[in-house]
């Protein structure tokens, strides 16, 4: 199974790299689907059907919505290069320089704190998930739910679910605000 997972993950990496470099945005979206559907098969192989169902339906709906967006806006990739040519003279694109420096600083800071935090972790192979053990042993008893994932999501961690629902509401409000025509005219 590890070999199959490795092949799938290599395919997903290839799909992601093609997504970044595709000139046509529609083919970029289709290639992005490789990553999503590969993840679905990974979840199924790792025996997580809840995640697989959620991933496959969200993947399909996102694909439809992204194709709708591409049909509204443009199919060309309008990314700027590292240099701009004005009247035969090459200038450094200041915006891409800012992106590069910010990204580099973020990666360095992230690596530093990641190294510091790994010193405090448990040794490899031992874990200290005390709550998880209680959930697995008494979850069905305490919530009465046969599906442990639903029991955790909607009882022990109901606040997380409320937060996810709030994210959806915020997304809808944002899209309706951006796409209003009357206010803009």
């Amino acid at each position: 199974m590890e070999a199959l997972l490795a092949v799938l993950i290599l395919l997903m990496i290839a799909g992601s790299i093609y997504t970044l470099h595709a000139r046509d945005l529609l083919s970029a979206v289709i290639a992005y689907g490789i990553t999503g559907f590969g993840l679905v098969i990974c979840f199924l192989l790792l025996k997580a059907p809840d995640l697989a169902i959620a991933q496959i339906v969200v993947e399909i709906i996102t694909l439809i919505i992204m194709i709708a967006v591409i049909r509204i806006s443009t199919r060309e990739d309008l990314t700027e290069g590292a240099t701009i040519k004005v009247e035969g003279v090459r200038y450094v694109n200041l915006r891409s320089a800012v992106y590069f420096v910010t990204g580099l600083l973020f990666v360095l800071g992230f690596m530093y704190y990641f190294m510091k935090s790994t010193l405090n972790l448990d040794p490899f192979g031992e874990h200290s998930a005390r709550m998880g053990q209680v959930y697995i042993e008494q979850g069905a008893e305490l919530t009465g739910s046969a599906n442990l994932v639903a029991g955790v999501l909607f009882d022990f961690r109901a606040y997380d679910t409320l937060g996810e629902a709030t994210i959806l509401i915020t997304a809808v409000v944002g899209i309706l605000t951006v796409l209003r025509l009357k206010g803009r005219k």
Partner: protein, 141 residues
């Protein structure tokens, strides 16, 4: 859309919708739940709009209604959380209904209700987003 798409949608649309309802209502028994089932229900409606939506401008009122439905669903979730706070232990989302026997359809207290409300919310939200994009494209012409 072509006749093939319309015929297939007529056969499949109701089945997809029923499958979404099954995933939502059996969320506490089998894999799935409010999020996955709600997305499937939204997919059934999107399929209908894609196949039969020749005149999208008629759907503007439906967009308003689904937007309102989504807000009502999340408001009901908040009310349920507050009711759980008032009854029994003072915690939000307290499971105040009897839990029953694990494995039966009517069991697990408020989890099925919560699942159904989340399903309504997710379905309405995704359908509203899709309608917003489609209607925007038509309005701009």
């Amino acid at each position: 859309m072509t006749n093939i798409v319309k015929t297939v949608t007529r056969i499949i649309g109701g089945v997809v919708f029923l499958f979404g309802l099954y995933i939502v209502t059996h969320g506490h028994l089998s894999p799935g739940g409010g999020f996955a089932g709600g997305t499937i229900i939204a997919g059934a409606f999107i399929l209908l709009v894609l196949a039969y939506g020749d005149n999208v401008m008629h759907l503007r009122r439906i967009k308003e209604e689904s937007s309102a439905l989504e807000n009502i669903a999340i408001f009901c979730i908040l009310i349920m959380a507050t009711v759980g706070f008032m009854l029994g232990a003072k915690v939000f989302f307290n499971n105040f209904l009897p839990t029953g026997v694990a494995g039966q359809l009517v069991s697990a207290g408020i989890i099925p209700l919560f699942n159904i409300l989340i399903g309504i919310e997710v379905a309405a939200a995704l359908f509203t987003i899709f309608l917003a994009f489609v209607i925007f494209k038509e309005e701009e012409k």
